[in-house]
């Protein structure tokens, strides 16, 4: 056997990742992927190895109007999924089950958006669940204003990126609103770019998916550092990643 021959199973993992397999071979590989953790790890390894090749695909502008078409299809699907309020007598828990399903269905879009806005320089393997990383995207009625926040529990720092902040006399102030509904001040943000906030020790326990981040526009001197003096102009829920 020559030195560069690959064991059959490793070859199959690579071929599955590359998309070469068809028919019965592909079915066998997919079954292994589900049943054999070592094989699945090999496939993951190949996917990760080949992923940088995606840079070799040229960017080609998507057809005009496609996003509107996608929006329309989602609208239609959601209209179909909603229980009819009058004709159908659904038990309470069935209705809340639908809401929970919708919530889960769309959350991935937010996580992806954040991951795209905060690309990691490199993907390091790390434990599948990292309880100390949370992200949020804040939007509101101001057109184009978008804040993305990422909290890293290992440093207790929150990085907040501000885009599309209009010119105002007031200053952007970030707050965390946990389940009790009381805002706690996190700090003043720069009007653009990334602001680094050291989250005070007393507030770290509020970093959970029940909390929202809100942005208010405050006078240069905060009237009361313990509560906002203006309504929220952007808000977003924290999500664990």
């Amino acid at each position: 056997m020559s030195s560069d021959a690959m064991p059959e199973r490793s070859a199959m993992a690579a071929e599955l990742a590359l998309g070469l397999l068809e028919g019965a071979e592909r079915a066998t590989a997919l079954r292994l992927l589900l049943s054999d953790a070592a094989f699945a790890a090999e496939v993951d390894g190949w996917r990760a190895r080949l992923a940088p090749l995606y840079d070799g695909f040229a960017d080609i502008a998507a057809p005009a109007g496609l996003m509107e078409r996608i929006d329309g299809l989602i609208d239609a699907e959601e209209a179909n999924d909603k229980p009819a309020p009058i004709a159908m007598i659904a038990p309470r828990n069935a209705a809340s089950g639908w809401k929970a399903a919708t919530f889960a269905a769309s959350a991935i879009a937010a996580v992806l958006a954040l991951a795209l806005l905060w690309p990691s320089p490199s993907i390091e393997p790390r434990p599948a669940t990292n309880p100390d990383m949370a992200v949020a995207q804040l939007t509101g009625p101001i057109d184009g204003l978008l804040l993305t926040a990422r909290y890293d529990g290992s440093t207790s720092e929150m990085l907040v990126r501000v885009e599309g902040m209009p010119v105002t006399e007031t200053e952007p102030e970030l707050w965390i609103v946990p389940a009790d509904g009381q805002p706690r001040r996190l700090g003043r943000l720069m009007r653009g770019g990334v602001t680094r906030i050291a989250v005070p020790e007393g507030h770290r326990k509020f970093i959970d998916p029940l909390s929202n981040l809100i942005l208010t526009m405050e006078p240069k001197v905060l009237p009361d550092p313990d509560k906002p003096s203006a309504p929220a102009v952007a808000q977003g829920r924290l999500q664990r990643i």
């Binding site: 995606y54 502008a61 769309s106 958006a113 795209l116 990691s120 490199s122």
Partner: protein
């Protein structure tokens, strides 16, 4: 309602940031413009419906989305084969993918690495691997395009991938 609106915004953000790349993937593999558009549309619907799970520990968001688009485009391509075989254009694959190291590539050593390792492969091996990755061709299609037996192409690709793996681990 607010959450739903925010999530729609998030989907639009994802679309704005990725649709050109994913369209490039779909069009290269499907060749047919209409089919590429349909596949692209379904990719974002899948994202919305959360088909599959995104794990940031395993892949970057863009790589995850590209993989969904590429797999969907390959599925479409294979479903067409018996009705109306698509043209196989190896000349396109012979265009050197390394010739265009974009700014992103230059900044990211890991990314540039695989292009460097590809360039070290014997040309036939690299061509066969590129045909699989960039055009979504199967073994028989690559064999036909390169006018070689399937067994030969299989051996080229397997050996090429082995070398690629060694090269990537050596230079890490």
């Amino acid at each position: 309602m607010r959450v739903a609106q925010q999530d729609r915004e998030a989907l639009r953000t994802v679309y704005a940031m990725t649709s050109a790349k994913l369209h490039g993937v779909c069009l290269r593999i499907c060749i047919d413009r209409g089919a590429a558009e349909d596949v692209l549309q379904n990719v974002y619907l899948k994202v919305w419906q959360r088909a599959g799970s995104f794990d940031p520990a395993k892949a970057s968001a863009i790589a995850w989305l590209c993989a969904i688009a590429r797999n969907a485009a390959i599925d479409w391509r294979r479903s067409q084969r018996y009705e109306d075989p698509l043209p196989v254009d190896l000349a396109e694959t012979l265009v050197d993918e390394t010739a265009d190291p974009s700014a992103a590539l230059a900044q990211d050593g890991d990314r540039a690495q695989i292009f460097h390792c590809m360039s070290e492969l014997e040309p036939a091996r690299a061509t066969a691997i590129r045909a699989g990755f960039f055009q979504g061709l199967s073994y028989p299609e690559i064999a036909e395009a390169m006018d070689k037996p399937v067994g030969t192409v299989k051996s080229w690709i397997r050996r090429g991938l082995m070398q690629l793996k060694e090269c990537l681990s050596r230079e890490q």
